[in-house]
Amino acid sequence: TQLLEQSPQFLSIQEGENLTVYCNSSSVFSSLQWYRQEPGEGPVLLVTVVTGGEVKKLKRLTFQFGDARKDSSLHITAAQPGDTGLYLCAGGNYDKVIFGPGTSLSVIP
């Protein structure tokens, strides 16, 4: 069974601080995606990483895929209240997508 673990489960920080959240699996995935979900809405894709060791930047967000394609991290620089939400990683294969349990981030003004 393929499983994804995320840590921390909850994170509450002050505006302007930096943070890193992690996604780990015992299995290799063909691709790994990060989504952000706000209450009452469906998840929205932030980034897809495919190649081991890949690093992608999206404004203040930096995503890294581990060399073995089993783990990933999301680093946010100078967090803003608008970054508040549930951050989900998802591993994709041909016929299914497995989501992690998420990291609930709260950025306090």
């Binding site: 995606q33 809405e41 894709l45 998802a90 989501f99 349990p101």
Partner: protein
């Protein structure tokens, strides 16, 4: 709009009732996924369609759950004889390509409450 839509947005059912949840994917999207999401948790995979073919239904919790996509567009998730543990948000997502590698576009979900 041109996004994924789901109906109803909210559904309250008495235990034992049957319910049907509808998903209208983005036009032309080949892949369609259903997920179940408990409060504060990540979405749990239920089933995957590629056009009208149901390629994976390994996530359906029991034989009370049934999904179909007869013409390769609109999909319906049916739950028979609902139980309290079925209470959750049911999310539908579609993607342009085949497989789970591609960006998925999610609907807002249907919140099911079973009393």
């Amino acid at each position: 709009g041109a996004g994924v839509s789901q109906s109803p947005r909210y559904k309250v059912a008495k235990r034992g009732q049957d319910v049907a949840l509808r998903c209208d994917p983005i036009s032309g999207h080949v892949s369609l996924f259903w997920y179940q999401q408990a409060l504060g948790q990540g979405p749990e995979f239920l089933t995957y369609f590629q056009n009208e073919a149901q390629l994976d239904k390994s996530g359906l919790p029991s034989d009370r759950f049934f999904a179909e996509r007869p013409e390769g567009s609109v999909s319906t998730l049916k739950i028979q004889r609902t139980q309290q543990e079925d209470s959750a948000v049911y999310l539908c997502a579609s993607s342009q390509g085949r497989g789970g590698y591609n960006e998925q576009f999610f609907g807002p979900g249907t919140r099911l409450t079973v009393l």
